[in-house]
């Protein structure tokens, strides 16, 4: 189950926005099993440096290019840990700007059938929370084509692992932050503190049902970007995502200057282009995961995944052209 980490030489890692060597040095050469006990990122190098691990600079760079960023959700551990990392590399090569590594969970109340199915299968195959760090290292590895990296996880796995320990290990692995679908800022005091210590983005969700008061409260707790769930409902492709999403993004912008990225429902290049005209980032999950779950073989899955990722990447690039 443990993925190949031989090529991981994170001491050298300098990806855009990485915090520099000081942080990575703490990881030492010991990357065998559990590296986390009591690890505190050396120095935590003060706020200025810590902020550099954010994905916000990637989103700003895309803004400078006159386009939305493309964010791809893929669950770690499906079809296997190695296979999921391969899939992440495929989408990065296809032009994805930020990978959202999903941690499979036994009770994913925000997810539709496609992602549930992949999660169940990944758990059956023994995926562990620590595999998230392996994937984060691979995605941010400068030896490959590095991309930004955030984790999407339901809250109980983090609670069980230890909030502080999780934040330290994710930061050490090069991850930039965490999207928390079932953790609202009101309950997130410990997480916000740990994220602050380790320079991680905390990405909370806003929804079409959010009141102006909630939008103000939630966005003021966010760092990195704000995750706007485009529709009321769970993850999964939708025929149409436009209007409610546009309205939500507009209302969210009244509350914050942070980038606003739209998730839930986008499955085609055309939709990515449509959403990319008003959002700072387009988040695609189920449509990509389906490429893997419905494929006849892992190779076929990766091929389909690459095709769709390129279509989506073209979509966001052509959106404002």
């Amino acid at each position: 189950m443990s993925a190949d980490r031989s090529e991981d030489t994170s001491e050298e890692r300098v990806r855009p926005g990485t915090q520099g060597r000081g942080a990575a040095a703490g990881m030492s050469a010991d990357r065998s099993e559990d590296r986390s006990e009591g690890r505190v990122r050396p120095g935590t190098q003060g706020r200025g440096a810590a902020e550099h691990t954010s994905v916000e600079p990637i989103l700003r760079r895309c803004q400078d290019e006159g386009r939305a960023a493309l964010i791809a959700y893929l669950p770690v551990g499906f079809p296997s840990v190695e296979g999921s990392i391969e899939a992440m590399r495929v989408v990065v090569e296809a032009g994805v700007d930020i990978v959202e590594i999903g941690m499979p969970y036994s009770d994913p109340v925000m997810d539709g059938a496609v992602i549930q199915d992949a999660a169940v299968r990944a758990l059956e195959r023994g995926v562990r929370l620590r595999d998230v760090f392996t994937a984060a290292r691979a995605v941010t590895d400068p030896a490959g084509q590095a991309a930004g990296c955030v984790v999407m996880t339901y809250w109980n796995p983090v609670l069980r692992y230890g909030i502080e320990r999780f934040a330290a290990d994710l930061a050490a692995a090069g991850g930039s932050g965490v999207i928390t679908p079932d953790l609202i800022p009101d309950e997130a005091g410990d997480w916000i503190a740990a994220a602050e210590t380790h320079g991680l983005d905390r990405i909370f969700l806003v929804a079409p049902s959010s009141t102006p008061e909630r939008l103000a409260a939630v966005t003021s707790a966010c760092r990195g970007f704000v995750y706007a769930s485009a529709v009321m409902g769970v993850t999964g492709a939708r025929a149409s995502v436009g209007e409610a999403a546009h309205d939500l993004v507009s209302r969210t912008r009244e509350a914050t200057d942070l980038p606003v990225c739209v998730g839930l429902g986008v499955s085609t290049g055309e939709q990515a282009a449509e959403v990319g005209r008003f959002a700072d980032g387009v988040i695609v999950g189920s449509a990509l995961v389906r490429c893997l779950t419905e494929a006849a073989s892992e190779a076929a899955g990766r091929a389909a995944l690459g095709d769709l990722a390129r279509e989506l990447a073209d979509g966001v690039r052509g959106a404002r052209g």
Binding site: N156, D182, S210
Partner: protein, 411 residues
């Protein structure tokens, strides 16, 4: 309340337990629910309407019954049953459902959804929906629809749509997941009638308040009959609504022991049980921070019990608090112990209990033997066992086994 704010307790905490661990999309609905409920709770019109339904529809107050022949197996202690099994629809669940259905109408919503395990909460919700003219969808794990086929038919007769859930373990926890998914998508028209004292705030507190009448009635009934308070109050604990209902009025009576009985399944050592307080750890499931059966990565571990209504890997957060504070104690009762108590009550008193409630009866047998003949034990008989005849008949070998083995203990 947000970034960097002091960790002042969020609303709906019982000690450190409870809270609101749900998608942001649901927060406005939870805020609306709390507001409407708090106003209704002090509105004479609402209180009067609920009281009228209790009296003229449910059949409240439910009686207490002393069971001397059963008590001979309880160390000679006096055993009193609070007869929630005699309520309309056959269990305590109707108390909560009527309250929430009235709130649904007050919120201007036209559709209710519910999860159900044994089917009792689903039946109660379908009943209230029929009474108040609401659309009703009930989510039920596929395995539970097989174990409780009779209740599926009852719900459909009452006009509800029953949707079998085929994800995950196909039991109660997956039905809850599916109900949450429905709610996120349909929250503007739909109220989620959560069936127990867990979930995000305000559900644990609100559901407890709707069931609190059980303890209010029972406390006075015991005083009237015995002339003093009971030594022990026993109740089975799945999510824990009947237990919170009967416990709450006694919390300030420090001399009254409160004992919750969890499903010990095939035994704690077997790993096949629903004894959250024996092997569970604090964590988050279904919106609340409480005790959860979970592995070392925080993944939920499936529970097991002969009783579908106790077959749940988490427990209401107020129970977690009562346990941590020492005010209540919790014990596991195995399937075998529960079924012995089930059989005993049938044969000694002519009362067929729900298998869930039989766990509380087994607890009374233990406590009676520990405390002896001067003790007075109040047991919440939370439901009747008509729905369990098939399971019990197979357990005791009274009918030919079915082809597919769908008994809970063998899952």
């Amino acid at each position: 309340m947000t970034a960097g704010a002091s960790p002042s307790p969020a609303p709906g905490r019982f000690g450190g337990f409870g809270g609101r661990y749900v998608p942001e999309a649901l927060i406005p609905a939870l805020e609306q629910l709390e507001e409407v409920w708090r106003k209704a709770a002090v509105d004479p019109e609402f209180v009067g309407e609920l009281e009228r339904l209790h009296r003229t529809y449910t059949g409240r107050p439910s009686i207490i019954t002393e069971v001397p022949r059963f008590a001979q197996h309880c160390g000679g202690a006096r055993v009193l049953l609070k007869r929630e099994d005699l309520n309309h629809t056959g269990s305590h669940k109707i108390n909560n459902v009527l309250g929430q259905a009235l709130l649904t109408a007050r919120m201007g919503k036209t559709r209710v959804i519910a999860e159900t395990g044994a089917g009792q909460h689903g039946v109660a919700t379908a009943t209230a929906a029929a009474l108040l003219g609401l659309d009703c969808v009930v989510y039920m794990g596929q395995k539970d629809t097989e174990r409780q086929a009779l209740n599926v038919a009852r719900m459909r007769l009452l006009g509800a749509e029953v949707i079998p859930v085929r994800h995950g373990s196909q039991t109660l926890k997956d039905a809850v997941n599916e109900a949450f998914r429905d709610w996120v998508a349909n929250v503007t028209t739909t109220h989620y009638v959560l069936g127990t004292v867990t979930g995000p705030h305000p559900f644990p507190e609100m559901v407890r308040e709707f069931h609190r009448i059980i303890g209010v009635e029972a406390r006075q009934q015991v005083l009237d009959l015995v002339g003093r308070l009971p030594d022990v109050v026993c109740a089975c604990v799945g999510g824990g609504s009947n237990a919170m209902g009967i416990f709450h009025r006694f919390i300030d009576d420090a001399a009254v022991r409160l004992v919750g009985l969890e499903a010990g399944g095939s035994g704690i050592e077997s790993g096949h049980h629903a004894a959250r307080f024996s092997t569970g750890l604090p964590g988050v499931l279904h919106g609340a921070f409480t005790y959860v059966l979970q592995d070392e990565d925080g993944q939920t571990i499936e529970s097991h019990s002969v009783s579908a209504g106790l077959d749940y890997p988490s427990v209401g957060p107020e129970h977690a608090y009562l346990r941590e504070s020492g005010r209540a104690e919790y014990r596991p009762i195995t399937d075998t112990e529960a079924m012995q108590a089930f059989s005993l009550l049938c044969r000694t008193e002519g009362i067929l209990p729900a298998i869930e409630s039989a766990h509380a009866l087994a607890g009374a047998m233990q406590l009676g033997r520990e405390l002896g003949r001067d003790a007075v034990i109040l047991v919440n008989l939370s439901g009747r066992g008509d729905k369990d005849v098939h399971t019990a008949a197979r357990w005791f070998g009274l009918i030919e086994p079915d082809a597919p083995d769908d008994l809970g203990t063998t899952r």
